[in-house]
Assembly symmetry: C2
Homo-oligomer: 491 residues x 2
């Protein structure tokens, strides 16, 4: 790797883009704001999907699929939701192209194929789903409905950034219907818990669980719960949201049910989602100046083997040892790749797998063979050790576990170091101008104060955390505050 790359300290934003490029995760496409997710990036997304899908099913959810398009009349039915997304949606107006008579070989939109009603490419699916649920729900016996959808959605963002903000992105959206307010609220909390567990145990990314302020709520929700993670530049990234939708969509789409006593009422709803944004969070939580760092549980390749050889005999002999190891690792469920490519030098390979964030790299040469040893290099700490080939498989299982835990602990330590408690607005502004991180501060609960903080500092109230340590007075107005909130600049 002769090319010089940016470090986090030099240019965090450039480092982020280069980390994605070096690991071959994704790229910008020929379509404004849309990305191409390349095979290695998509393999990580598949691991994320598989684990979340398992957790959704374990909590009683089933997958289904709803249309990509939302007719305008359905889109506008829930007014707040419509208002929230109206300014950023792709609109289908025609259904046919025709040949351009002035330009042979070129096509133009056929003006005669104009749709009677425009179709919105879904930015989120509440409208189309609640219009469908209307036909499914008559009685309490039809409830709860616990459905998830894996899909693409489109939000016409003006300033885009791979994984973090793209016009089209991939996500899952859960949409549930319940007979009571309490049950819906419990579902909202349960799914936030699933997201938090996934973030911490699989992404090795500590998160703060809390509630959004009214002004930051999902359009159409009565309450939005969220998990917020701290990136290495100290900014917050909202990694998942779970919305208590009250009866808003049921009322907008007239979805009522008869309860067990024969009383008619509107249905209670939740929705919750995470997206390919998680890829951005994963990258920015763990990676370093040498490239991507992946937690073993989400690494498409957990262990890579590289042979060090001069002669064909050496190549053969080392290959046999690695084949032996491969079988054992397969049985243990460890994903192993043996890079037997003769055209690439070991040094090139080392740098390549480092950039790709492979948690453990093995190297074996003729000397190691003789001694019954192998070199084991950790991506997270960049330390190497020489280990006996005997029992290597079990050693690797333990090591992967250790790396997973170490990455979490490292991220948690970073967050602890950058979680500041401030009591005055002056202190907040001064410190924020010097260092990022999350600021725990008292706030009077008004939208006015929230807006003032945002306008004057570009930092926002990320959430009202569930865990809190008591009352106080607002750092801006001095008015009473029930608890500290988390304030930070954010992605």
């Amino acid at each position: 790797m002769s090319q010089k790359y940016s470090t986090r300290a030099e240019d965090y934003s450039k480092w982020y883009n280069e980390t994605i490029e070096r690991a071959d995760l994704a790229e910008n496409s020929g379509v404004r704001g849309c990305m191409v997710i390349k095979p290695y990036g998509y393999a990580i997304w598949e691991k994320i999907q598989a684990q979340l899908d398992k957790m959704f099913k374990e909590t009683g959810h089933q997958n289904a699929y709803f249309p990509l398009f939302v007719p305008k009349s359905l889109f506008e039915a829930e007014e707040k939701n419509a208002e929230g997304f109206a300014k950023e949606c792709a609109i289908v107006t025609h259904y046919r192209l025709k040949t351009d008579e002035k330009n042979p070989g070129k096509l133009i939109v056929d003006p005669e194929a104009k749709l009677e009603e425009e179709l919105i490419v879904r930015p989120t699916s509440e409208a189309i789903i609640w219009n469908t649920y209307k036909g499914w729900i008559q009685s309490y016996r039809d409830l709860p409905i616990l459905i998830n959808q894996w899909a693409n959605v489109v939000r016409w963002e003006m300033r885009t950034r791979i994984f973090l903000r793209t016009a089209e992105f991939l996500w899952q959206e859960g949409h549930t219907a319940h007979a009571t307010k309490q049950e819906a609220y419990e579902e909202t909390e349960r799914m936030l818990g699933v997201y938090a567990e996934f973030a911490e145990n699989f992404m090795a990314m500590p998160v703060i669980q809390g509630r959004k302020t009214e002004s930051e709520r999902f359009a159409g929700a009565d309450d939005t719960l969220c998990i917020e993670a701290m990136m290495q530049d100290g900014k917050a990234l909202q990694a998942g949201t779970s919305h208590f939708l009250g009866q808003n969509f049921a009322k907008a789409f007239d979805v009522k049910f008869t309860d067990s006593e024969g009383k008619l009422d509107h249905v209670w709803a939740t929705s919750w989602g995470v997206s390919t944004r998680l890829m951005g969070a994963l990258i920015m939580t763990h990676s370093d100046d040498e490239g991507l760092v992946l937690p073993p549980k989400l690494a498409p390749i957990q262990v890579v083997g590289v042979p060090i050889f001069k002669t064909d005999d050496e190549y053969e002999a080392i290959g046999k040892k690695f084949d032996e190891l491969a079988l054992k690792l397969k049985a243990l469920g460890v994903s192993f790749k043996y890079d037997h490519d003769k055209n690439r030098r070991p040094g090139w390979k080392f740098a390549e797998y480092e950039a790709k964030g492979v948690p453990v790299r093995l190297a074996m040469g003729p000397r190691d063979m003789e001694n019954g040893n192998i070199e084991v290099a950790r991506r997270d700490t960049k330390t190497k050790e020489v280990v006996s080939f005997e029992g290597l498989d079990q050693h690797l299982v333990k090591l992967l576990n250790e790396i997973q835990n170490n990455l979490y602990q490292k991220a948690l330590n970073f967050r602890t170091d950058n979680l500041h408690t401030v009591d005055t607005y002056e202190e907040f502004k001064t410190r924020l101008s010097k260092e990022g991180g999350f600021y725990l501060a008292h706030w009077d609960g008004t939208a006015e104060t929230e807006a003032k903080i945002k306008e004057e500092t570009q930092a926002t109230i990320r959430c009202i955390p569930f865990e809190h340590t008591g009352e106080g007075v607002c750092m801006v107005t001095g008015k009473p505050s029930k608890q500290r909130v988390v304030i930070s600049k954010a992605y």
Copy 2:
């Protein structure tokens, strides 16, 4: 089930729709031509996806994701492809809605948010993918590229039918790039082979492998290979296609590579796909007048257990036996559901699981308990047997295997019975007017004769089968024919 349903003999089309409704697989949505795939239907699609995905990965392919939208200038680059899809595509022209000042609460398309270049919602992704591959390919070392994508696509069909023809559908599309014509052609054949294996071994659906005539080729392909299955009404259903694209897309998008001798050449391409259409094929191949019939390998629930009880004690005791069985079946990888619902009567449950196509239904009452027996009912043959509870798990594994094989054999026998060899056009027309099925007939190879057959009989040449039995003379023109082709009415 007091309602009377249509039989296949009475009204095949109505029977198809009712089978979908009774099994709760899918429904039409509020969006013209788009369907909602309901949880049980989607669970079958997930089984199809999982198996195909495994087979694609075993043959060296990786998944990736490309944009939903294709800018018009890219869409029209490969002229034949563009021409083929221009008449049926959804076109995004605007990216913002605004409030309608004349109608409070309503939205209208913001005329100021018109896109400079219209975006086509992908009907297939060759254009956007080859525009991307251009940046990935310089030398033979970058080849082959073996990528698959799971995605939604949109083709604006005027007459739609759930699963068989919908405006939006789910599919996978493989897109590969190769250094030589031969390698690309081998890939085209390999993937057709994967589809045929999947159809026969998993869907239990025999298929004829062959080549499309020039007029039935994919727009932009030099050759289209396909698998054709026979439905129970004797019509053909094209269940999968694999296209040899030659250098057409490489030329349209100017994708060249340097070979090992330094010579510059255009890249060779393939693409191949199957879609949610397979769900329609699955339904129409096996189901009967009582509802859906599923091959065990694709059944979300392979075995269902129903308790027959009067007292709570009986309910408890039977439940314990089924719990015992559940553990054993889980260990054997058999998907089992125990329906412990007390509010539904056994008769209702029997009909329900019959309509849903669950391959094996178990029932156990107090008498069975005493005798150490259980009732085992097969969905495919509608036969019942009383079996000892001892060793039941192993018995079920064998039974599921037997059902899988029986369904295939039954479908194969049906196809054999309805595969007619005809030698004169008169005979063909007379028989076709009386019975469906596939007709093996000689054809002179001209588009004129093909068009004449289609116009006069509504039957089309489904394929030129790989397996053939020698030369002859065209049944229409008497001109020489190299081999018989498969002619049939089709979905």
